[in-house]
Amino acid sequence: MMRVVIACLCCAVIGLAYGQQPTVEQRDPAIESRVRALAEELRCLVCQNQTIADSNADLAIDLRNQIRAKIKAGLSDAQIKQYMVDRYGDFVLYRPPVQPNTVLLWLGPFALLVLGLAALFWQLARRRRAAPAIDLSAADHQRADDLLDNSTKNRPDSST
């Protein structure tokens, strides 16, 4: 008997949970996916390293709602982005626009990489040039070996 009661309670709870779905308005999946796409292109100015899609700041929630309202009003993606830029400036775009004042930002890393590689290769080339292979005659080779052997044997602290 207890099991039946518990089963009924569980069904009631699950039923209530389903009943809590947002029925404020039917969420249109096409609009929602556009909202999400745009929200991922815009920066939350409160938590500046997050997009409006990721952030739970009040402003982010407001701006997501504003995007939804503008989509329903028929604005295009570009128009909505422009709407945000008009109010918050270029910084609201999560991907910085390619403009004269951001050229250094976009090209800088590649330029540094090229400079770094160039410096590396230049250094290597210099090293190679500065140390030419010296050809020793057989007699000189023998002299060198003798000197080297002697120097290790004659050291008082050699432990060979």
């Binding site: 409160v46 500046q48 009040d58 504003q66 109010r87 918050y88 400036g89 270029d90 910084f91």
Partner: protein
């Protein structure tokens, strides 16, 4: 000689960039509304909700729009400065009560003083979005033609009032 100077030169260049970068505050996002007309609004007055105030009604005078809220902690920091500034009658200060409850806002003003000629309510923050508000408190300086000339992000300090806002107000008032 050059090979010793090159790393030093690179280091100095990097140190200069770092020094410049550390002195910039990313929280202060420059507003695209500077030198543009103040966005139009028509909002209910906080004290008399049946009456409305619009930007057009404020043409012909230099005025400050201070965005504030009773839940905003930093606003309490700047409030004494605004109260003092209002007493000098240098420039009228209008308050934009941002995303707040009317009762809370009125209580807050009663408790901390009211420097505003009057305050208007923006309960859903729509006008705030038009003005590019992202972190209260923010203060806009608007000239006689209704053009935004300066935006102060963060609390107004005595220093910023004396050294930046007041001189600019005087200049715009002519």
């Amino acid at each position: 000689m050059l090979k010793y100077l090159a790393p030093l030169a690179i280091f100095i260049a990097l140190a200069l960039f770092l020094g410049r970068g550390l002195n910039l505050n990313p929280r202060e996002v420059p507003s695209p509304l500077i030198d543009k007309p103040a966005p139009a609004f028509e909002l209910s007055r906080l004290d008399k909700p049946e009456q409305k105030l619009s930007v057009a009604q404020l043409r012909g005078q230099v005025w400050l729009l201070n965005v504030w809220a009773s839940w905003c902690v930093s606003c309490r920091e700047e409030h004494p400065v605004l109260v003092e500034a209002a007493q000098t009658n240098a420039v009228p200060i209008y308050g934009l009560n941002y995303k707040d409850q009317r009762a809370d806002a009125l209580n807050w003003l009663r408790q901390f003083g009211n420097p505003y000629t009057l305050s208007i309510s923006d309960p859903d923050g729509k006008v705030g979005i038009d003005y590019g508000v992202y972190g209260v408190p923010e203060t806009y300086l608007i000239d006689k033609q209704g053009i935004i000339r300066y935006k102060k992000i963060g609390p107004v300090t005595r220093e910023s009032w004396q050294n930046t806002l007041l001189p600019l107000v005087k200049k715009l008032q002519g």
